[in-house]
């Protein structure tokens, strides 16, 4: 076990993207966890100075209502991480199950599921999310569920390909001969053995979920009860000429977060496909 974790550390160290991504993510999680300690003001309190320039009192300045932008950005990390991670988890679970069943079962089941996946790929997903959130209310849980339910297609395709290649392997055939049930093989052998690329893919889904939420919040469909970066940007849009800091810093926070997940995903892909490494 120790050897294993040491190996893993070595692998992480050798891939620059993964290293940088994990460090960035650690910082981010730290900010989200210790938000009350880091924030200089209460993000919901309206201070007396409106659209104040960044200064030692207000590190990122204040917005049009006098809220401290720095504290809002700090608290916003909680919202973004929560949405990104839970939504990606939902979509990965759905995608893995659907893709796994399709690839492993093959035949008619596969045909029908593949057709459904193809149809989902053609749907304008963001617009669908928009409609659902607009109509069924923009609570945090609604946003998370809708994003999760609409973005599983990529994972499903990946898992399907994995299952198809694993299905022909000898150890699966032996498991069958021993008399293991189909479901048992799927959950005990196919999914665990094919899961690694899925994990790499899910970190990418986290980023796209965060971007979707930012987009929703930007057009006023975010959860009004929490602070979110998209909402800060939407608010800052009205004060663009007088207060550039409102939009700029919250946007940079999004870029920072999304990039950390991208780097981790990309790094994992490098471990998975040595061929890619060699080319580099």
């Amino acid at each position: 076990m120790i050897e294993n974790s040491q190996q893993m550390l070595k692998a992480i160290n050798s891939i620059k993207e993964l290293k940088v991504g994990i460090i960035l993510l650690m910082i981010l999680i730290g900010i989200a966890v210790f938000a009350p300690l880091i924030a200089t003001h209460d993000p919901y309190v309206l201070n007396d100075e409106m659209i104040a320039k960044p200064s030692s009192k207000y590190i990122f300045g204040t917005d049009g209502l006098g809220r401290d932008v720095f504290s809002m950005v700090v608290y916003g990390s909680r919202t973004s991480l929560k949405i990104g991670i839970i939504a990606a988890a939902i979509s990965s679970v759905i995608g893995t199950l659907i893709g796994g069943v399709a690839g492993y079962m093959g035949g008619k089941v596969d045909k029908v599921i593949s057709e459904i996946i193809n149809m989902f790929l053609m749907l304008p997903t963001f617009f669908l999310i928009l409609i659902v959130v607009a109509i069924y209310g923009s609570s945090l849980s609604n946003i998370i569920i809708v994003i999760g339910l609409t973005s599983w297609t990529g994972t499903a395709r990946l898992m399907r390909a994995q299952a198809i290649s694993l299905r022909e392997r000898t150890f699966i055939k032996s498991a069958k001969t021993i008399g293991e049930s189909e479901m048992g093989i799927l959950f005990k052998h196919i999914i665990p053995n094919g899961i690694f690329p899925i994990i790499a893919d899910s970190t990418m889904s986290v980023s796209s979920a965060i971007l979707s939420e930012a987009g929703l919040s930007f057009i006023g469909l975010g959860d009004p009860n929490v602070v979110s970066w998209g909402q800060i940007i939407a608010h800052g849009k009205g004060y663009l000429t007088r207060g550039w800091w409102i939009c700029t810093f919250s946007g940079l926070a999004i870029v920072f977060t999304v990039i950390s997940f991208y780097l981790i995903g990309e790094g994992m892909n490098h471990i998975l496909s040595p061929k890619l490494n060699k080319i580099k």
């Binding site: 057709e115 053609m122 617009f127 109509i135 209310g137 663009l240 946007g251 977060t257």
Partner: protein
């Protein structure tokens, strides 16, 4: 084991793709129809106003728009009308949905196509160039930049552009499609529109470039590492000749599929950017329809978008099948 299935020609391939397309349209239409109709809240109450709602008016409107009938009946009626090319009337403006969409569709298409084509050309060019110079500073810098752009929300980039080019330097117009104060004719009008297009189009192009950059770069690298390239090298063929004749053609093909796949995403991205730049396109219409619970307009827009995405995807698939014969055999 290479298994070549005979008999599947381009024709049946296209037929299959069209069938999937039609299925998708029906499917996405059903989803939206039922999602919207089963939604909480009554649009007729919104129409009647909140200050002094008139019950008779609400009843009259409900009957007028057929909302008193059971939902399956509404569905059948709606489908019947669609087959006649009628998407119903907007609740808010009482104008035909098709007319409202028609007014707004051109500016959106203008933005989408201009930026997509620019992004394909620039992105592919940069990607191929980076792949040829793999490992150099240019390649590394471009890869780094592509990560950053990928992580940037388009609407935010648009706002930053407004901040830089319109507020600080005051060179470009920030909003709208043309100058509302001075009416221009002919060429001057076109010039005016182009000037207004610069910022939204550059925003959209920039956020799409990384996609094509990465695809073309990795597919060039992939092709370069194939065995047949090694063989060609062994025959003593010039490197530039190998590249132009064999690598490039194989490497460009994946960008074609990407083009159609990304279009679905671009359309939603365009909506956000239209809102940023107050571009008079579908984005604004979508927002209004959502905020005012204009069901027919909403379903109409969604249907239009789904259909156009399907058509574009089918066309690209066909082009793809013609360009790359391997696809047909799969």
């Amino acid at each position: 084991m290479i298994k070549v299935q005979g008999g599947i020609g381009v024709k049946s391939y296209i037929g299959k793709r069209i069938a999937t397309g039609i299925l998708t349209i029906i499917f996405s239409f059903c989803i939206t129809f039922f999602l919207i109709r089963y939604a909480p809240g009554n649009p007729m109450k919104v129409l009647a106003g909140t200050d002094n709602p008139n019950l008779e008016l609400i009843e009259h409107l409900t009957i007028k728009y057929g909302l008193d009938k059971p939902i399956p009946v509404q569905f059948v009626n709606y489908v019947k009308n669609i087959l006649k090319g009628d998407l119903g009337h907007s609740y808010m403006s009482n104008e035909p949905v098709t007319k409202l969409i028609k007014e707004k569709v051109f500016p959106t298409i203008l933005l989408t196509l201009t930026s997509s084509i620019l992004a394909v050309v620039v992105g592919t060019f940069l990607g191929v160039y980076a792949a040829r110079k793999v490992g150099t500073i240019f390649d590394r810098v471009m890869c780094g930049i592509s990560y950053f752009i990928d992580a940037t929300p388009g609407f935010w980039l648009g706002l930053i552009f407004i901040l830089i080019f319109a507020s600080t330097f005051k060179i470009l117009p920030t909003s709208g499609m043309y100058d509302l104060r001075i009416e221009k004719q002919g060429f001057a009008h076109v010039l005016d529109v182009i000037k207004h297009m610069i910022l939204p189009v550059s925003t959209l192009t920039i956020i799409q470039i990384p996609l094509y950059f990465r695809i073309s770069r990795s597919s060039v690298l992939q092709t370069m590492s194939e065995d047949f390239i090694m063989t060609l090298r062994a025959t003593g063929m010039k490197e530039s000749q190998i590249f132009n004749k064999y690598v490039l053609r194989n490497a460009i093909i994946p960008t074609i599929t990407m083009f159609s796949l990304s279009l679905a995403f671009t359309i939603s991205g365009v909506a956000l950017i239209e809102i940023v730049f107050a571009w008079p396109g579908m984005g604004r219409l979508i927002m209004d329809a959502i905020m005012k619970r204009d069901y027919p307009l909403l379903t109409g827009i969604y249907l239009t978008i789904s259909i156009s995405i399907c058509i574009v995807m089918i066309i690209t698939d066909i082009v793809y099948a013609i360009v790359d014969p391997r696809i047909r055999l799969e």
